[in-house]
């Protein structure tokens, strides 16, 4: 199978998976709005949680995948690992944006403030910024081999940084508790809500896979285009 065939296969399957999952997402939301009871303390605002938490999960999953692919790249030096890692980072940034916008919308009625330096929120913000840097760095490098190595270094460093940032914010918060109306930790959910949330987690995870496949396919095609351009330049 040629690289183009493989790319097109990934693109088709990715599009299919994404389309199915977007329908499923709509389904989850219908269920969340109409068939899941309203949370007693938080009211309707809690509904946003069904997007917010799964988006955060997908973002961190995406960054973790980038980190693991970075390690594999430096080991195996296969260009496809770099393309997949970069694709995952971009998808992660997209999910982070969802997470970082829905968070404050939920936080305003629940915590009484748009932003709080909560451990999870803050960690995600900095990891998000780190991967924005990752993407900017990729844009600033021309040689694909060098770009792959440098991205892998940042990807691995990011993977190691996450627990440190989380622990930093945790230490900071335990020492300076802010006035919060409600604990950011998830309350133990009753069955219906838990099921909806779990369904949403599932949908977001598969949605991540769909986005990843499409972005990876695009990466393969870009790579092919560059290769053809280089071939023309020589002959």
């Amino acid at each position: 199978m040629t690289q183009r065939d493989r790319a097109l296969l990934f693109a088709r399957r990715g599009t299919l998976v994404t389309a199915v999952m977007l329908v499923a997402l709509a389904g989850v939301y219908v269920r969340a709005l109409l068939f899941t009871p309203i949370e007693r303390f938080q009211g309707p605002a809690q509904k946003i949680f069904y997007v917010h938490a799964p988006a955060a999960w997908s973002a961190l999953l995406a960054f973790a995948v980038t980190g693991v692919l970075s390690i594999l790249y430096l080991w195996l030096r296969d260009r496809r690992l770099d393309l997949a890692g970069a694709a995952s980072a971009e998808v992660g940034v997209a999910f982070s944006v969802i997470m970082l916008t829905t968070g404050p919308i939920w936080g305003k009625p629940i915590w009484g403030t748009w932003w709080t330096w909560d451990a999870r929120l803050t960690s995600t913000l900095f990891i998000f910024l780190l991967f924005v840097g990752y993407i900017v760095l990729r844009g600033a490098l021309v040689d694909p081999e060098m770009r792959a190595r440098y991205s892998a270094v940042i990807g691995i460093m990011g993977l190691v940084l996450v627990p440190f940032i989380h622990f930093t914010v945790f230490l900071f918060r335990t020492l300076h508790p802010d006035p919060i109306l409600m604990k950011p930790d998830k309350p133990s959910l009753p069955g219906d809500m838990l099921l909806t949330l779990l369904m949403s987690f599932g949908v977001f995870t598969v949605l991540y896979v769909g986005f990843l496949a499409q972005r990876y396919a695009l990466g393969l095609l870009e790579d092919l285009r560059d290769e053809e351009a280089a071939g023309h330049a020589v002959s």
């Binding site: 430096l74 910024l129 840097g133 270094v153 930093t168 900071f172």
Partner: protein, 226 residues
């Protein structure tokens, strides 16, 4: 091992000699440090916030930003005339190059810090002299943390355009644990609290130093041409 350290030392001494000839980075970093200390002093309402409350933050913003001016210099001097090739052709392990660069950068940032601390005491009127050993400890551990990561990153960003912007963009997320930790410990030192109160932060700083020194040393060779 002895050979590696000797080579690293030679590289560090050469780096400092090059810097000492021009003093461009050193003078800019020092001037920058003075400016930041002064500006941050005025960036508060003096009737509501006392200088000592903003002092720890001011000190660490000064250190990190002044250091960032100097960090790219270490690899920029190797780009000019590609002297780096000469080092890579010599029979020294590539890790020695990283260790040498870290040592030179540490010396550079230490020089900025040694000048900044007395100014800091002067500007912010903080009672410090008896707590100097504790402060030196936290400055040492936190500086090591961001110099190690900064050296690794600068080895990559000097290959890009806009390296002056790229370094802070990539480095700042890595500054969160060491700088937040350093500010917290410094605040306790300035408040005259015992160091044991900040044991958690000191452990975090130390763990960061060890983990990122190991991983940066390992990853460094991937930042060189091959």
């Amino acid at each position: 091992m002895g050979e590696m350290l000797r080579a690293a030392m030679a590289i560090a001494v050469k780096d400092l000699a090059v810097e000492w000839r021009t003093k461009t980075a050193l003078v800019s970093s020092l001037a920058f440090a003075v400016l930041v200390l002064a500006v941050l002093f005025f960036a508060r309402d003096p009737t509501a916030v006392s200088a000592v409350d903003v002092a720890p933050g001011a000190l660490w913003v000064t250190f990190t930003f002044a250091a960032m001016i100097g960090l790219n210099r270490a690899f920029l001097m190797e780009r000019e005339n590609r002297a780096l090739d000469g080092i890579l052709l010599a029979p020294v392990p590539r890790t020695a190059l990283f260790l040498g660069k870290v040592a030179a950068n540490l010396a550079f940032v230490a020089a900025v810090e040694v000048v900044s601390v007395p100014l800091f005491v002067l500007f912010y009127d903080v009672p410090l002299w008896d707590r100097l050993p504790a402060l030196a400890l936290v400055i040492g551990t936190a500086t090591f943390a961001f110099v190690v990561v900064g050296t690794l990153l600068s080895s990559m960003v000097v290959r890009t355009r806009f390296s002056e912007i790229m370094l802070p963009l990539l480095l700042l997320p890595f500054l969160v644990p060491p700088v937040v930790g350093a500010v917290q410990v410094t605040a306790r030192i300035l408040a005259g609290r015992p160091l044991s109160e900040a044991a958690g932060w000191l452990r975090l700083l130390l763990a960061f130093d060890i983990v990122f020194f190991a991983i940066s040393t390992l990853l460094f060779t991937a930042t060189l041409d091959e």
